[in-house]
């Protein structure tokens, strides 16, 4: 297992009432928990992943997500069981949408 931490600048997301959870920690899948954070223009991410040695790939995938979505003001925690970048990208979009669905 490997633990990774990232912080990216991102356009502020509407602040939501409740945290949102998306996905399941199953083979080739991951769960993503989106919570409100303190810095409105930054997205903070922490990842625990079963696959070691993919820090650069995570950085690229998450950086691309933060650049293309308004994810500022969130703290995102991920538990990963070997999801491919395609799955990670899809889940991030779903998790953020669910989080924003609960926006006040």
């Amino acid at each position: 297992m490997e633990t990774l931490e990232f912080r990216f600048n991102s356009k502020p997301a509407p602040r939501a009432a409740d945290p949102a959870l998306c996905g399941v920690v199953g083979s080739g899948n991951l769960e993503i928990l989106v919570k409100p954070g303190m810095q409105p223009d930054a997205c903070q991410l922490s990842i625990k992943t079963s696959a070691r040695g993919f820090a650069e790939t995570w950085q690229a995938v998450l950086g691309s997500f933060a650049a293309s979505h308004a994810a500022g003001g969130t703290v995102i925690a991920i538990n990963d069981m070997g999801a491919t970048p395609a799955v990670v990208t899809l889940r991030l979009a779903q998790a953020l949408a669910e989080y924003q669905g609960g926006a006040r």
Binding site: P19, L21, E31, S50, N79
Partner: protein, 300 residues
């Protein structure tokens, strides 16, 4: 396309959270100890494995047709729904809470292979505590209804827990047993149980067989809405019987007769024939409604 297929939301492939969302009245789901307030299993972390925030089980309050109830939903996709320390303690806590609050019912969405081997002792003891807690709830008059239809079925200790519940609602896809076919094959050989022969696995452990044998109260389609209406139907007018010698004597006798009659059989086909099913071969392909009609027409 076929309308019934379009509107169906498979229980078998849904996540625990999706099952709850479809099972409970819309908007009534209220999670206790939600993911944002909990931490993954430290025991898995010590073994270098990522955990899940909810440790693979959702416990909640909610409503079923406006009836306030509690629900427990195991996530079969995380570690096979297996019971670890946190997972088990959440279930035990919820069952105790249901007693305190004299809940109308607990719906127990079982989807589990049993003990989580990575925390084996904690899992085994937790299952023992769940067994006691289920019986305490029932003794307090709170019905505990097991819903079995997930990809992991109800195996190992969770197979025992399922049979301790007030009643079991199962789908054809659901499986209910003690040892998994793979375990039996590994220990006793492929001739004893070919775990890759899926039709055989279902004839021995599957929902239709358990329903025909009377081990499950209700057979439903693999559809979240069907589980919802099944649970509603079952709970309407349900009175939880007080634990009594008379009831257990009756069960004892039924189990003894069954053992005497069927002990030599090794395939559901043989049992179904003995139960009076005219064409046992056709059972695996019958739809749910035909199965119910078949069961109701059997000699008692």
């Amino acid at each position: 396309m076929i309308a019934s297929l379009a509107s169906r939301h498979s229980w078998f492939e849904a996540t625990a959270r999706a099952r709850l969302a479809g099972l409970l009245d819309p908007g009534s789901f209220s999670e206790i100890l939600p993911p944002a307030e909990s931490t993954p299993s430290p025991h898995l972390a010590r073994l270098d494995l990522p955990g899940a925030f909810d440790d693979g089980v959702v416990v909640c309050h909610g409503q079923l047709e406006k009836r306030p109830i509690f629900a427990i939903a195991q996530e079969g996709q995380f570690m096979g729904g297996a019971v670890g320390e946190i997972h088990g303690a959440k279930i035990v806590g919820l069952l105790r809470r249901a007693v305190q609050e004299k809940a109308a019912a607990v719906l127990f969405l079982i989807d589990s292979g049993g003990v989580r081997l990575h925390e084996a002792n904690a899992g085994l003891i937790a299952i023992s505590e769940i067994m006691r807690a289920v019986l305490d709830a029932r003794a307090a008059g709170v019905p505990v209804i097991a819903l079995v239809g997930g990809s992991c079925g109800a195996f190992g200790g969770m197979g025992i827990v399922a049979k301790l519940c007030s009643a079991i609602i199962i789908s054809e896809e659901g499986r209910l047993a003690l040892s998994g076919p793979e375990v039996i094959e590994t220990v006793a050989g492929v001739e004893e149980f070919d775990s890759k022969d899926r039709a055989l696995v279902w004839r021995v452990t599957g929902g239709k067989h358990r329903y025909l044998m009377g081990d499950c109260a209700m057979l439903v389609e693999d559809d979240i809405a069907a589980f919802r209406s099944g649970a509603t139907e079952l709970l309407t007018g349900w009175t939880e019987p007080a634990p009594s010698v008379a009831n257990l004597r009756a069960s004892q006798q039924a189990l003894e007769y069954r053992l005497a009659d069927y002990a030599a059989y090794r395939d559901g086909l043989q049992v179904w024939a003995a139960l009076g099913v005219a064409e046992p071969d056709t059972v695996p392909l019958l739809d749910r409604d035909s199965m119910v009609a078949l069961k109701e027409g059997l000699p008692t």
